[in-house]
Amino acid sequence: MKKWIAFWNILLKDMRTYYLKPPNISWGIIFPLAWTGMFLIRSGSGLDSIPALLPGLMAISILFGTTSMLAVTVTFEKKNSSFDRLLLAPISFDLLMLAKTSGAIFFGIVNAMIPILMASFIADIYVSSWLLLILAVFLIAVVSTFLGLLIAVAVSEVFEAQTFSNFFRFPMIFLCGLFLPVSKLPIFIRPLSYALPLTYGVDIMQGLIRGGNFMSIHMSFAVLTAFCILLFSLSKHFIKKRWIS
C-alpha cells in the first residue's frame, strides 16, 4: 500500500507540474490540428482523406507529445538534483520508473484521442475494433515514453534532450510508413523501418481504421510489446549504470 501512495503521488505531481500546464494542453490540441490542416492541403482530396491521414496523425501526436516531454522533465530533475529524492525513496526502481513514465504515457494517449475525436466530427470514421485501437495507442505511448526515458539517460542538459529527441523522431516520421508505405521505400532503407517501433504501431492503426495493414496485427502487437520491454530494460540498465555509479 505504502509504495502505491508513493507511485500515485509521483504521478500526480508530474501531471500537475508538467503535463497539465496550459502550454502543453494547447500543444496537444494545436499540434494535431496543424498536422491535419497541412496534410489536407497537401493531399488536396478534402475530408475523404481523413481516415487515411488519421493513423499517422495519431502516431505523430503521441510520439511528439511523449518523447520530448519525458526526456526534458527527467533531465531537468536530474540537473537540479531533485531526481535524487526519488532515487532515495524506499520504493523499487521499477516502480519508480513506472511512476515517472505513467504521466507521459497518459499524456500521449490523450494526445492521440484528440485527432480521432476531431476527425469523428467532420468525417465518417470506421474503426474495426476500438479495443485494439486503444491497445495500440497505449503501446505506442509506452514505447515512445520509454524512448524518451532512454534519451534522458543519455544526455545531461535539457537542450540536449530536445535535440536528441528530434534526432530520433524526424527520421522515424519518414521511415515508419506515415508519408510513404514501407513497401514503397527503397529496399536498402526498409530494414531501418522494421527496426522502428512506430512502423508497427502505425501499421496496426492503419489496419484498424482503413484495413490497409501489411503485417499481421498480432505480430505487430508482439513486436511493439517487445520494444517496450527492451527500451525499459535498457533505460533501467543505463540509469543504474550512469546515475547510481
Binding site: 501512495i5 503521488n9 505531481k13 507540474t17 529524492r85 526519488l86 524506499p90 526502481f93
Partner: protein, 327 residues
Amino acid sequence: MDKTNIDIAVQNLSKSFQVVKAVNDISFEVRTGELFGFLGPNGAGKTTTIKMLTGLAKPDSGSIKTAGIDCSRNPKAAQHLIGVVPDESNLYPELTGYQNLCFCASLYGIGKAEREQEARRLLEAFNLNEAANRKFGGYSKGMKRKLTIAAGIIHKPRVLFLDEPTTGIDVASARALRVMIEELHKQGTTILLTTHYIEEAQRLCDRIAFIVSGKIVVVDTVHNLLKHNEGKHYLHVTHKGKNPDIAERLNAKFGTMSFSFLKDNTFRVESSEPINITPIVMNLEEWGVDVTEAKRITPSLEDVFVRITGLEADTMRKDKEKKGGAK
C-alpha cells in the same frame, strides 16, 4: 563496542572515479543517537561517502550496515530508515513549501492526513509558516536549507545524513539551523553530519572523523581530540612589512618553538612551554619587522586538525570562501 547500538557500520569502504581514489578504505561506526561529524576540506570524500551510505553511489568495495541491515548489495533495504539532506537544496522549485513537504512524505508512504499534519507542524517548527504557500524557487538560501532539512526528517528517520547543512547561508540562518540540528540530536535521531566548518563540528558533534584525501585520519570524541592540545601554547603575531629572512631568523633564535606562516603577514608560534611575548616582539622590531599585534590564543579543535592532518586551517577557510559560506 556493543553492536546492537550501532546505527551505521562501515567497513573498508572504497570508491574511485577513474584514477582518483575519492574514498580510500575507510571504516567507522556511528552509535545510535550519536551526532557524528565528518570533517575535512572540499574533495576529501565526505559527499561521496554519504552518497554510498544512502544508495546514490555504488562502492567499489567494502560493506555498509544501516540499523543492522546490510546495504552493500541492496541499498534500497534501509532507505525507509534514513533521511538525507544533500549539500544542495534539491526540492522542487515549482512546488510550494507545503506541497514539497507533503510530496516528500508521500514518497515514504505516509497517508494524506498524516503528511499534511506533519508538514504543517514542521513549517511551524522551522518558522516557515508565512512562506508555506510560496513556491520553493522563490525562497532565500537560508529558507531553502531549512525546508530541505524539514523534507529530510518529515518521515521521522532513524538515521539522518546532513551534508554541509550550513554551507552558503547567512550567519543568522546558520545559527538557527545549528539549533535545529541540536534539537534533533536531543530527540534521539542518529545524525551523520559532514562539514568543513571546524567550529561547527566542535560545537555540535559527539565524535568527529577527520577525513583527508579519501582517508580517515582519526576518529574520536571532541573532548579526546582536544587533549592533543594539552601542554601546548600558541601565539598569533600580525606584522607590517616583509623580511625574507624572518622564518630563518625566528627558527634560529627560538629553537624550542615552531613557527607556521599564514597569509596576510601573520604567523603562529607553537610551544610546549609558556610563550614569553616580549623577546619575540623585540627581536622582530630589531630585524625591521613592525609588530602590530601579538596575542596568546586558546588551542582549539582547529589546531588539532592542523596538527593531525598536516593541512593548514587556511585550506578550510578557502573552501568556505569558495562556497560563499558564512559561519
